[in-house]
Symmetry: C2
Subunit: 253 residues, 2 copies
Amino acid sequence: MTSTSDPAASPAIVTAAVLVIGDEILSGRTKDQNIGFIADYLTAVGIDLTEVRIVPDVEDRIVEAVNALRGRYDYVFTTGGIGPTHDDITADAIAKAFGVSIDVDPRAVELMLARYQATDLTPARLRMARIPAGADLIPNAVSAAPGFRIGNVHVMAGVPKIMQSMMDAIGPTLAHGRPLLSETIEAGTGEGAIAEPFGAIAAANPDAILGSYPYFDGTRYGTRLVVRARDPERLKAVAAEVAAMVAALHARA
Amino acid sequence: MTSTSDPAASPAIVTAAVLVIGDEILSGRTKDQNIGFIADYLTAVGIDLTEVRIVPDVEDRIVEAVNALRGRYDYVFTTGGIGPTHDDITADAIAKAFGVSIDVDPRAVELMLARYQATDLTPARLRMARIPAGADLIPNAVSAAPGFRIGNVHVMAGVPKIMQSMMDAIGPTLAHGRPLLSETIEAGTGEGAIAEPFGAIAAANPDAILGSYPYFDGTRYGTRLVVRARDPERLKAVAAEVAAMVAALHARA
């Protein structure tokens, strides 16, 4: 694990975890759209998403997960539970995880006054301005109530549109490693036929990550072979080996 | 936590965790479709999905997650990593987590011979017949290579079609509690306006779970208010309170 808050430092590998908070995802009522977005975003900027957890709206479970993940990865990104209702307990749970106090934050109130009349800042809406002591705010371009960053933990909304605007605000502040580049080769066959030669290429090229992803398109099986490497030349070389292996296979068939 | 393998026992609450195994989900290349399916499935049969983790194709990480989850929940369901290629290491990791041996299982080979000619059972395809000692097989109606159950852990394929056929095979063997029933009331407004009266109803009805799920439809915010309870009469009563609260709010507006 590499720890840095200086985006210029560019260590070789930067790791991250996502923590999705919400009963509605676990019950199936809401289908998560945030994990895939954050995964794409982090991959594009050269941060390796290494673990995801989804936990219910239960304080102890949030505290436990935040503390497990923030000690293990360079960054943690949470989604969900920062709205105005009684079941939005993420901010309080994060304060508890860090052992700091939490209160209505004047900076957050100011951001919210850009959208709400002062008379509309009801106690419920002011819940959204509760920020743990020592946290920085994450602006919300969509609906004003901010997220926040404390230590290496970034706390974002669960509504995808809002979460995405927060991720865009966070992006430039993040350290990132050399991006893991990838090339995909369609095998044109099921996994079984390519497993042996593909495994041999993987064994011979330990600096590349080779993955094989079977799919079923409704009538037949196919397999996407994915080569990942940080060095573009090595990526090209190993991907060429895989493409040659696939071509040889079909020539024989 | 309630532990039982007798479906007839019907304890009040049965819990489950899902463990998604695969670099391709963490890199964003593949968008997970299994978590939402399993969440819906378990909710429908009265099993509470209580935690989800996504981990990479790394043996130690799989072992750690399996052991953390199987001790904590009645059931664990894993997806991914049971194909024929070098990066399919789930079966070996599960054997390690349980401290049992693993080898090609004659029962699995027999199932695979229903689809493959004996001469096509290459060493790579035979990897799919590696089953930890003491496990029961989970049939695969789609592509023959089975999943397996060991202890309270159900190991399924990652391809959604195959995973779903395995889930259907597993379903009748599971103990389940009283299903958590739900009703949804559209608030017709953002969360801020309903947070206080909604929270008051939640506080007054501790036997129901009240959740509030804001959304943005492209032009405006709405909120789905969800009431969940195991008792149908209580569900009806609390949902009626919420509907009356929403009606009163709009009458005032």
